[in-house]
Point group: C2
Chain length 195, copies 2
Amino acid sequence: MKESPFDIEDYIHRVQSFHGHIAPGVVIGGFMVHLARTRIPATTLFDAISETPACLPDAIQMLTPCTVGNSWLKIINFGRFALSLYDKYHGNGVRVFIDPERLEKWPEIKAWFFKLKSKKEQSHEHILSQIKQAGVEICGEFPIQIKPEFLKKRDKGKVVICPSCREAYPLQDGDFCLACQGNSPYITPDAPYGQ
Amino acid sequence: MKESPFDIEDYIHRVQSFHGHIAPGVVIGGFMVHLARTRIPATTLFDAISETPACLPDAIQMLTPCTVGNSWLKIINFGRFALSLYDKYHGNGVRVFIDPERLEKWPEIKAWFFKLKSKKEQSHEHILSQIKQAGVEICGEFPIQIKPEFLKKRDKGKVVICPSCREAYPLQDGDFCLACQGNSPYITPDAPYGQ
């Protein structure tokens, strides 16, 4: 991995298939993940953080073993277009981010990133072309150390049946599951058995 | 899609590759996604909700166009092993969940699901074998309607540079980005330019 070049055309092909469209954020994310991986030893078992739910998680899921469902990828929504890869046991790793200063050379990327133009004014083709040319040039990076409490695996504890919806949930959430405690996105009865 | 049978062996092969190991939850999730898709018209543009971050998001990402990064998949952590697929414009759809009552016939799945046995006592092979036999039999389902406010696309608004870390963030988060406001998972300086 460490020495292999990033095959951007092959990656873009996969982006179309997995993400559904060739979003600039996922393409930039590919370069970011690639850069991060070159900074950690190839044998390191690593976890990942995406600091945004937008685009970047898909780049990580496509280019590393870390997925949301296997919990090796965590999304912490700080609204920053940045990711970290770090040793899953010791927490040392690298953070890669888009450096606004480095965008000055790339007006199309900058206009897209800071939403300086309306969608109609943007040219998808020009943005992509600049992203491919710029590659990792627009990225900043620095080493990071993850807080120990963040590395701990959280056990969800005892699993019981919710007296309201009669589905299984972690008892530590309370006397009812979190959905029956409120905040359900459903209008239709969430608890068909009645509460 | 509607009439096609679910090719479980092919799916398990893909689970190994994407999720990294053949986790029971992702295999059950495959049946759940398949069932949900048969309940909505094949032409419907749908979004997805996973009510748990564990396993199920990967089944959805593998078997539908919905991913975390393209935002068609939302994870709302209710701690319930359930998912919904719904019309992205009108919010009508279906919710599929594991029905604890239906697990009575499948002691290995039940023991795994309710953590009645330690990992050491569990047989991965027996659990998988019962999951493959049971298929959608252990699932419950009912129609749902998503609340209108949940269907709205949230615009993150103006993007500005954080005076602390000098990275881009949505201004609506405050005078500093959320990471610089606290809760960073990093020990090492999150703001290398100083705060």
